[in-house]
């Protein structure tokens, strides 16, 4: 008995922290649309990372005699109105989209989460001020506000990302504030308060770790919309400027050829479609897999 006892609990021990994560992973793998989303996302991430090694050409290299060529073995996605290879441009565009997703969410989360935590934990007039500013941001249609901000910041893909991030943070503020409001009533927060911890420690060490799952799920659902919104800004000419191979601006520049040379706007458009769909499928599956009510089962 004595000899077995420690061994068994040591095994349990090692499994304990991983078990929760493992459970999420297993639940994710059981969901077919989640797997599909992960496969699509995986392909796009691979293309983004390995892009320059996959396609050798310069995305801005023009070849005017070969304008508007249909898909062929030399140019699998065809060429555009300036004779540029569309596959090369889509690959580089995917790199930009991945950056867009990451940067927009980085901006939104860095601004939104701390503000939501402060508002939720402090309460009173601080909460009032933060939440009314949030309301002001949310009362504008987000794409209109993003347009206005990117006009002020100036054209360019990074400014467009920043603009989208700057209209996105209020969602995180609301989300985190709501979570903190309910968490701060919990017994374990009263317990750490009775230990004399500072408000900063309580929020940073004890409250925010509890909101991490929710923030992760929300962020994974938002990546797709962020890419879409930034592509939208580029489409109307505020984001990426020629000759940047951004998928949204490629659709915009190619749309007049839709009836004669469909591949020019359609293939970049499909690239946007698949990226966003992959991310959304993954986000939905992740939300289901991380649902705490489901995890116990």
């Amino acid at each position: 008995m004595r000899a077995i006892e420690p061994t068994r609990s040591a095994v349990d021990e090692a499994a304990a922290p991983e078990r929760q994560r493992f459970k999420v992973w297993r639940r994710l793998m059981r969901n077919p649309s989640g797997v599909a989303g992960m496969v699509i996302m995986g392909i796009f991430l691979l293309v983004a990372v390995a892009g320059p090694y996959l396609v050798k050409a310069d995305p801005a290299a023009q070849d005017l005699p070969l304008r508007l060529q249909g898909p062929s073995s030399a140019h699998p996605f065809g060429t555009d109105q300036l004779g540029r290879d569309i596959l090369t441009r889509v690959v580089y565009g995917t790199r930009i989209s991945v950056q867009v997703g990451a940067l927009v969410l980085f901006v939104a989360v860095t601004i939104g989460v701390p503000l939501g935590a402060i508002a939720g934990y402090t309460g009173g007039w601080v909460d009032e001020v933060i939440m009314r500013i949030t309301d002001i941001f949310l009362s504008f249609p987000s794409i209109v506000l993003a347009m206005a901000i990117s006009v002020v910041l100036g054209k360019g893909i990074y400014n467009a990302m920043l603009a989208v991030g700057l209209v996105w943070w209020p969602w995180y503020t609301r989300l985190v504030r709501g979570q903190i409001l309910s968490l701060k009533q919990s017994d374990f927060i009263r317990a750490v308060e009775s230990q004399g911890l500072s408000p900063f420690r309580i929020v940073w060490h004890h409250l925010l770790p509890n909101t991490l799952a929710t923030i992760t799920v929300q962020a994974s659902l938002d990546v797709g919309y962020a890419i879409l919104a930034t592509a939208g800004l580029s489409f109307i000419g505020l984001g990426a400027q020629p000759p940047t191979p951004e998928l949204g601006s490629m659709v915009a520049e190619g749309r007049q050829y839709l009836t004669t040379s469909w591949w020019v706007p359609m293939l970049p458009g499909l690239a946007i479609f698949f990226t966003v769909m992959g991310v959304n499928l993954f986000g939905d599956a992740l939300r289901d897999a991380m649902d705490p009510r489901e995890i116990g089962r």
Partner: protein, 329 residues
């Protein structure tokens, strides 16, 4: 020798229906090294009193309108928030009723223990982790060096309450406030936890303010007992006096409603009626609607605590030097 002295403490909550005076002119003291039991039904203001002492009612609609809370001669109500943070967890600690929800589910047991050690004792991470293992061993948790790395969901209720006690005692506080520490635990575990608290109290030489509605717990733990009813203290006496010679009719009623082995089978004794609505407190003595010995005067005049030797009671029966008012009718 007095460690904590609460004087005339009055705390009100603003609600939509009016002002609720949850604690009304409460006075008591805790001597160094003693265990004071604070007994009362749910809603009698026991927990609010303890949260007042810790000043943990900010952010609610509660307002302390009167009174002083002297801890080692210093009025806690006059301290600022950072001064209070130095007291909490360091000089006065608290353990709560619900061990199942009092630990943060996403943090390891060890992390939660070392937080207070780092702040109050200025220990480094390594020193604090070492002390956390020691503390877990002190509260009787087997293989503490492994348990510190575990998440709370792996521990049973009794184990979690031991962890809570370890956290509360980590900085050797002078006063431990235990708010219904065993109510959520089953009976055998209750006994273990109470044993542990008794042992640690002697080892660490601290005082305990034990809040409970369970007179059995009081009998085993407390030196002195303060009985609360509807926000007021109605009787304070040594545990022996409370159990053997209660003065207040409410205390008598409480004791009488505990079934004992030699009580004949049949209906359990209850105190008739219910705790009064806190917004519409009855005039006079708050217990008079439920009191078998109430006189017309009890409806008009609010009794104050009067001292009879080393004990005190708030009942008009004893208001004239011990002459029973009810019997004079």
């Amino acid at each position: 020798m007095t460690l904590l002295e609460v004087q005339d403490l009055t705390t009100e909550f603003r609600t939509e229906d009016g002002i609720v005076r949850a604690v009304d002119g409460v006075s008591f003291h805790v001597v160094r090294g003693e265990t004071l039991g604070l007994v009362g039904e749910s809603g009698s203001g026991k927990s609010v009193t303890s949260l007042c002492i810790m000043r943990l009612l900010q952010g609610t609609s509660a307002r302390t309108t009167r009174g002083r809370i002297l801890f080692e001669g210093e009025d806690l109500l006059k301290k600022d928030e950072s001064g209070m943070r130095h007291i909490r967890g360091n000089q006065i600690s608290m353990i709560f009723q619900e061990p199942m929800t009092s630990l943060n589910p996403v943090l390891t047991v060890g992390f939660q223990i070392i937080e207070a050690l780092k702040i109050h004792e200025g220990l480094t991470d390594a020193e604090a982790s070492e002390k956390a293992v020691e503390l877990l061993r002190m509260v009787g948790i087997p293989s503490p060096d492994r348990r510190v790395k575990e998440f709370p969901h792996r521990l049973s209720g009794g184990m979690r309450q031991r962890v809570m006690i370890a956290m509360a005692l980590s900085c050797s506080p002078k006063l431990l406030i235990a708010d219904e520490p065993t109510t959520a635990l089953d009976v055998t575990v209750q006994a273990q936890i109470l044993d542990l608290m008794r042992r640690l109290k002697i080892e660490l030489g601290m005082s305990i303010l034990l809040i409970t509605h369970d007179l059995g717990v009081i009998a085993g733990m407390a030196h002195r007992v303060a009985v609360m009813y509807a926000g007021q203290i109605v009787e304070v006496a040594s545990a022996d006096d409370i159990f053997n010679a209660p003065l207040h009719p409410y205390t008598e009623g409480l004791l009488y409603s505990i079934p004992t082995l030699d009580t004949p089978r049949g209906k359990l004794h209850v105190i008739e009626g219910t705790v009064p609505d806190p917004i519409h407190m009855p005039p006079g003595c708050r217990f008079h609607p439920r009191c078998a010995e109430a006189s017309p005067r009890c409806r008009l005049q609010m009794p104050h605590l009067i001292h009879l030797g080393d004990r005190s009671v708030a009942c008009l029966k004893y208001a004239n030097g011990g002459t029973g008012e009810a019997s004079a009718q």
